[in-house]
């Protein structure tokens, strides 16, 4: 298949946007999942609800809310621009933010399920053997939750690749910067004679998705063997 430079740019942007979003969101998702799975505090229900909001809101609304908060005049976006000269709207980083926020609840759920499946007795045992809370997390909980973390990464990556509404609202459709595969396919369909491009990019989407799924299956089998399950 011969890709045009524009199509190659869309593939590259997609991988970069999704990869960066997962890299930043995954540790956060693990932390939040840990707090939700093990923590007992006032406001836990509220945190749980907040995390899940992107799952139930129309993506365009999420993009709009991000514009309000992270826009150049927003309460977070303003200071970021003034202090660090860092603009998120209409940039590749902004596309990652939008995609990451949308994928976040799915990632938290995957990690939380695997954390909750760990026998709390193992942590009691680790504690009696002299391991403090941070030590226990890294030596027991995180390794045992590895399959869930892996699943979260894959699900998150796939969700980021597929994100449309939040990205186009917050980061716009800038070729080579924020135009991911779905946005490029949409643009191709809109323009006369773009059918071939749309078909090629759809095929690429399918290949990436299948590759991610197969890689996830292989890795999770290995992770399960590694943790002795």
């Amino acid at each position: 298949m011969n890709f045009t430079p524009e199509e190659l740019a869309a593939i590259r942007v997609s991988l970069v946007v999704a990869g960066r979003a997962v890299a930043v969101a995954l540790p956060l998702a693990v932390a939040v999942a840990w707090v939700l799975a093990r923590g007992r505090f006032i406001g836990k229900t509220l945190l749980d609800a907040l995390v899940h909001v992107p799952l139930v809101l129309p993506p365009v609304v999420v993009g709009y809310l991000l514009l309000l908060v992270f826009g150049v005049m927003g309460p977070v976006g303003g200071p970021l621009l003034r202090l660090f000269d860092w603009r998120l709207v209409f940039t590749s980083g902004g596309a990652s933010l939008a995609a990451g926020v949308m994928a976040f609840p799915l990632m938290v759920r995957a990690v939380r399920l695997s954390l909750e499946a760990i026998d709390p007795g193992l942590e009691t045992a680790a504690r009696s053997l002299g391991a403090g809370p941070v030590d226990r997390f890294f030596s027991i909980s995180l390794p045992l939750a590895a399959p869930g973390v892996l699943a979260a990464a894959v699900v998150g990556f796939a969700a980021c690749l597929g994100e449309f509404g939040a990205i186009i609202t917050f980061a716009a459709n800038v070729p080579g910067e924020t135009q991911t595969l779905p946005l490029a396919i949409y643009s191709a369909i809109q323009s006369p004679g773009g059918e071939a491009t749309a078909a090629r990019l759809a095929a690429v989407s399918l290949v990436i998705a299948l590759a991610a799924l197969i890689a996830a299956e292989v890795l999770s089998r290995r992770a399960r063997r590694w943790i002795g399950r």
Binding site: T124, A125, R127, S128, L129, G130, A131, G132, G228
Partner: protein, 371 residues
């Protein structure tokens, strides 16, 4: 070093725990009682997994918990090695890494057990490269004991470590527990509802029921008290005697054991001459004679004084007999026999024990009581 002193009160749902007892600095103290007596809750409080409402827990000079001064040492800093019913080995680590988990985190506590010694005593050298999933229940429990010991604990807490195993596996592990107890110099608190395990392993007994301590003291004394339902009320009530092997007589097929100036004949025991041997004598195997019997097949006919008569629910009488200083036996007889012989406390009688009824435990096989 002093032993463990516990004096705590704790409400757990509808259950109230109110216990005070001591454990010796070395040897096995058993918390004995039926399921639901609160034994495991006591262990959890000592380990620091739960905080009592009030009271204090001291280990020698070290205060683990004191509600009056607000001391509540975090579990990870108590140095309480904890062996659970389910072994709770870390599934993602090899046996070797499981064993070293606590060792790495021992934080400068004096060494009570070296890696090689623990592996040797528990016989787990061949398991080191394996994952927990590839171990049998008995092997898992041995590794769990090793892991707890290698954390160089100040005391060892064992929560019914054999209860999840079948009889065969139990018999397989008991010898390792004997060796563990005699090798490593630290207090061991052993929770169990099994009289078999307790009579075999314990030096001291704390009898619990419904969140309270009914009695505590040396095992041999507790067994012959006659007033503790969970011990004396059992059809297999028995006395334990800590004897020494005086001689073996292979021709007659007998061993001579001595305890407190008393001599007992038993079928040959496995222990060497001079070695300690704990024997169990079941109450139903001891006869009482008012006059010295003449020619009789029982090899042990011993002068005794009646100390106590306890009437049991099944209509029998449990008689505590004193043979000498600190040496007592139990005898279960019918109410009728008690009347006929006119038994009263202080009366001089003869205790008749068949030598085959004196059972060595420890080195020779497992004496299984009706658990």
């Amino acid at each position: 070093m002093e032993g463990l002193k516990v004096d705590i009160r704790q409400r757990l749902g509808g259950f109230s725990l109110e216990v005070a007892f001591e454990a010796a600095p070395t040897g096995v103290t058993a918390l004995f009682g039926p399921s639901g007596a609160g034994k495991s809750a006591v262990l959890a409080a000592i380990a620091g997994a739960s905080a009592p409402d009030s009271g204090r827990i001291r280990l020698g000079e070290l205060v683990l918990f004191d509600s009056a001064t607000g001391v509540n040492l975090p579990a990870e800093r108590r140095g309480a090695g904890w062996v659970f019913q389910d072994a709770r080995l870390f599934p993602h680590l090899t046996v070797d890494a499981n064993l070293r988990y606590g060792q790495k985190r021992a934080k400068g506590r004096p060494e009570v057990a070296s890696f090689d010694e623990v592996v040797e005593v528990l016989g787990i050298g061949h398991l080191l490269p394996r994952r927990p999933i590839a171990l049998s229940g008995g092997e898992k429990q041995r590794v769990a004991m090793g892991r707890a010991l290698l954390s160089q604990p100040r005391l060892l807490l064992m929560d019914e470590p054999l209860s999840a195993l079948d009889a065969g596996r139990k018999a397989e592990i008991l010898p390792f527990l004997d060796r563990l107890k005699s090798t490593f110099p630290l207090p061991i608190l052993y929770v169990s509802h099994s009289l078999t395990e307790v009579t075999r392993l314990a030096d001291r007994l704390v009898v619990m029921e419904q969140g309270r301590v009914l009695a505590e003291g040396p095992l041999s004394e507790m067994l012959v008290r006659g007033d503790l339902k969970s011990l004396a009320g059992r059809p297999d009530a028995a006395a334990a005697l800590d004897t020494r092997v005086a001689s073996h007589d292979p021709e007659r097929g007998l061993s001579r054991l001595t305890v407190g100036g008393i001599e007992l004949l038993t079928p040959i025991v496995a222990q060497a001459v001079g070695a300690p041997a704990r024997v169990l004598v079941m109450a139903r195997d001891v006869l009482i004679a008012a006059d010295r019997p003449g020619r009789i097949s029982a090899r042990n006919v011993l002068p005794a004084q009646i100390e106590k008569l306890a009437h049991r629910q099944d209509g029998t009488v449990l008689v505590t007999l004193t043979l000498g200083a600190g040496v007592s036996l139990l005898s279960a007889i019918t109410e009728d026999a008690s009347h006929a012989l006119g038994l009263t406390p202080g009366a001089q009688v003869w205790a008749v024990v068949k030598s085959v009824a004196v059972e060595g435990i420890g080195a020779s096989g497992l004496r299984t009581l009706d658990d």
